[in-house]
C-alpha cells in the first residue's frame, strides 16, 4: 500500500527500519511512538503542538524534502537543548511519499 520506509536511530543508537503509512495523517513523532522507539512519557509530551521539543530529532538525509520550519517550531527549538543545524521537531513532519528512505536520529532526552 502507501507505506514508506523510514530509518529511525533511537536514543541508544540502535537503528530501526520501520514502515510508516502515508494515508493515516501521521507525523514522524507519532510513528516513533507507535513503534515505541522511545520511552512513553519522554517523547511527544505536548501531543504534537510544537510546544515541548521532546520529539526533537536530527535529520540525516532528504532534508530538502521536508516542510519548512514554522515560527512555532523555530521558537521551540530555540529553547531546546542539544540543538544542531539539522534539528527538527518530528511532530512537525507529516509522513508523505516523498519521505521514503528518510533517516533520522532521536535527540537525547532533555535532563
Amino acid at each position: 500500500m502507501s507505506d514508506i520506509k523510514i530509518t529511525i536511530i533511537d536514543r541508544e543508537g540502535e537503528a530501526h527500519v520501520v514502515d510508516a503509512p502515508t494515508d493515516m495523517n501521521m507525523n514522524l513523532m507519532e510513528v516513533v511512538r507507535s513503534y515505541e522507539l522511545a520511552k512513553e512519557g519522554t517523547i511527544g509530551i505536548c501531543g504534537g503542538m510544537a510546544m515541548c521539543a521532546s520529539c526533537q530529532c536530527y535529520i540525516l538525509n532528504l532534508e530538502h524534502m521536508l516542510p519548512e520550519q514554522s515560527m512555532e517550531e523555530e521558537d521551540m527549538l530555540d529553547q531546546a537543548f542539544f540543538v544542531e543545524d539539522n534539528s527538527r521537531l518530528s511532530c512537525q513532519i507529516p509522513i508523505t511519499e516523498q519521505l521514503d528512505g528518510l533517516e533520522v536520529k532521536l535527540a537525547p532526552e532533555a535532563p
Partner: protein
C-alpha cells in the same frame, strides 16, 4: 492541617471536574498543584489552543475550558494549595492519608486522588555537566526573591519571555546583567524584546547572542561561567559572576509521586479500570493522563469519565454503610455547599377557563 474528604493532586481539567462529581455526592475536595494557577497543561502550555473533542463543545479554547470548569465547581467551594508540589504520603492508622507538600503544607483526607497529568512542571535544566553542584550556590532556576540579586553580577540564559522580563527587571537591581542567548532572535513579546535592545544600547544589559553557557567554574560557590560563542567554535569566554540563572521554560516530571510505592508502567500509574481507577494502594486513585490500563486514551473526556466513576467508589470508601443511588442533575439539580441551588424551572400549570 488542611482536612477534606477527597484530596486531589493536580488541578488540571480532570482534577477540577472531579470536584463537581464529588460535590454531587456531598463530598468536599481540596486540590494541590505545583503551578501557581489551576488548569494544568491547558493553562500552562496551550491556553490559546482550540480543543475540538470535548463533547458538546464543537470548539473551545483550552483556557476557556478551565474558566468554565472553575465556574462549574464554584458551588462546591474547593480548596487550593497552589505553587506547591505534593511530596510525601503517609498512611494513618485509620486508613486515611496525610500528604505533605515541598513547602511543608499538610493535608489530611480519607481518599487521595492523583490527577497529575504528565507530572508537576519543573524548570528545564540545561545540560551542563556540573550544574547540580552549584544549585543554590550561585545557580537558580526560578527567581523567588529579586532582592537577592541587588548589586550582584547576574548571568541569565534563555531567549523566551521569562529570560527577557527578568533581564529587564534585574537591570535596575543587579550591578551587572548579562543575557546569553543561542540566537539573535528572541521569541518573547515584542515590547520586551525592544526594551532589552534599548537597555543593551545604554549598557544596562550586556547582550551576548549566538552563544551558550557551556561550563561553570568555582570552588564551593559559583565564580565563573564559561560562554562558548557559536561563530568561532574555539572561542570560549570566561565571565566572572555571582549568579547564573538559566530560564528555559518548564517541563513536566512525574516527580516524588514515583516514589510513593505505586505501580508504575510507561511513566504512568497502573489502575484498576475494570472497576474504579484505584491504584495498588487502597484509598489512592489515579485518573486522567497520569494513569494507565489496557486501552487507555489520554483524552480530557476520558479523564472526566474516570472522575465520575472514581467518586462513586470514593463515596463507598468514606461511607461504607450508606446506600447511595446516582442522581441525574436534570432531576435533582445542583446544591452547592455555599447554599446555592441550581435546578430546572418548574413547569407552570395554568388552566384556561
Amino acid at each position: 492541617m488542611i482536612k477534606t474528604d477527597i484530596l486531589i493532586i493536580g488541578a488540571g481539567p480532570t482534577g477540577l471536574f472531579a470536584v463537581f462529581e464529588a460535590g454531587l455526592l456531598k463530598l468536599k475536595c481540596h486540590l494541590i498543584d505545583a503551578l501557581p494557577q489551576p488548569g494544568g497543561q491547558c493553562s500552562e502550555i496551550y491556553p490559546k489552543k482550540p480543543i475540538y473533542d470535548i463533547p458538546g463543545f464543537p470548539e473551545v479554547l483550552a483556557g476557556d475550558l478551565v474558566t468554565n470548569l472553575m465556574e462549574q465547581i464554584k458551588p462546591f467551594e474547593p480548596g487550593f494549595t497552589l505553587g506547591e508540589r505534593a511530596q510525601t504520603i503517609d498512611k494513618q492508622g485509620d486508613g486515611s492519608f496525610i500528604v505533605t507538600t515541598n513547602k511543608g503544607t499538610k493535608h489530611h483526607a480519607p481518599v487521595v486522588v492523583i490527577a497529575g497529568g504528565l507530572g508537576s512542571f519543573e524548570p528545564r535544566k540545561p545540560p551542563i555537566a556540573n550544574i547540580a553542584k552549584f544549585e543554590d550556590k550561585g545557580v537558580a532556576y526560578i527567581i523567588r526573591e529579586p532582592e537577592v540579586y541587588r548589586d550582584k553580577k547576574v548571568v541569565i540564559a534563555g531567549g523566551g519571555d521569562s529570560a527577557l522580563d527578568w533581564a529587564i527587571y534585574l537591570a535596575d537591581v543587579a550591578s551587572e546583567v548579562s543575557l546569553v542567548h543561542r540566537r539573535n532572535d528572541f521569541r518573547g513579546a515584542l515590547d520586551s524584546v525592544e526594551k532589552v535592545e534599548e537597555l543593551s544600547k545604554i549598557g544596562k544589559i550586556n547582550l551576548i547572542t549566538n552563544a551558550e553557557v557551556t561550563d561553570l567554574q568555582g570552588e564551593d560557590e559559583l565564580k565563573n561561567v564559561v560562554i562558548t560563542h557559536k561563530a568561532s567554535a574555539s572561542e570560549k569566554e570566561i565571565k566572572e559572576t555571582d549568579y547564573f540563572i538559566p530560564l528555559f521554560g518548564l517541563s513536566p516530571k512525574l516527580g516524588p509521586i514515583a516514589d510513593w510505592g505505586l505501580e508504575i508502567e510507561k511513566n504512568a500509574i497502573k489502575v484498576d479500570n475494570a472497576y474504579d481507577y484505584q491504584t495498588n494502594i487502597p484509598g489512592v486513585y489515579a485518573i486522567g493522563d497520569v494513569n494507565t490500563y489496557p486501552g487507555k486514551l489520554k483524552l480530557i473526556l476520558c479523564g472526566f469519565h474516570e472522575a465520575a466513576i472514581m467518586c462513586q467508589s470514593a463515596y463507598q470508601r468514606i461511607f461504607p454503610d450508606k446506600k447511595y443511588v446516582m442522581k441525574y442533575t436534570t432531576v435533582s439539580g445542583v446544591s452547592g455547599f455555599d447554599g446555592s441551588k441550581k435546578e430546572a424551572k418548574k413547569e407552570v400549570v395554568k388552566s384556561i377557563n
